[in-house]
Symmetry: C2
Subunit: 106 residues, 2 copies
């Protein structure tokens, strides 16, 4: 069959972004560092999966985890340079959604 080869780097990027919740996590972190519970409550994500996603994104050097030994302990997640570089993608998704998706799509 018509074997159009897909660029492996593009494929990798899509593999990251097409994980459930990843886009929304990045969207939230683009507006500044966030704590675990803030992320958890702002989207419908479960703690189990949020924990998993943050670890994956940390391993990919997209997200940085910082511990502040206060009381109770504060842990902040923020974007690395690599993570901040995703902003144009998120912006384009926002633009498309505003132009092409109806209000109240349920």
């Amino acid at each position: 069959m018509n074997q159009s080869i897909i660029c492996p780097r593009f494929e990798k990027a899509m593999g990251i972004l097409s994980q459930r919740w990843t886009g929304l996590i990045l969207y939230q972190l683009l507006s500044g560092p966030k704590r675990f519970c803030a992320l958890e409550s702002s989207m419908g994500i479960s703690g189990r999966v949020l924990s998993e996603r943050l670890k994956d994104l940390e391993n990919l050097d997209i997200v940085k985890r910082e511990v502040f030994p206060e009381t109770p302990v504060r842990i902040e997640y923020s974007l690395t340079e690599k993570g901040k570089a995703l902003q144009p993608i998120i912006k384009e998704i926002e633009k498309w959604s505003q132009t092409w998706l109806p209000i109240e799509p349920n």
Copy 2:
């Protein structure tokens, strides 16, 4: 908690794009109409899921399905205007992947 509200249209868009395979299907269709078996063999997707995704994208008016009653029958999938408008997103993902992802990431 810090309840930053997420734009429902952005959330909807992310819900579409974060479905496994959807990004790669769109990427393939951006280079022109494709047949079912061409899409199937160019990515690692199974027929079961490809069929499901194409139906979803058709219902969202992102993909158009056309039947050519030849022999054997030819069915072509292509992007609608709404679908073509996703190009800037795909382009930004390509850019990011080229800048930030290593070659041969395995």
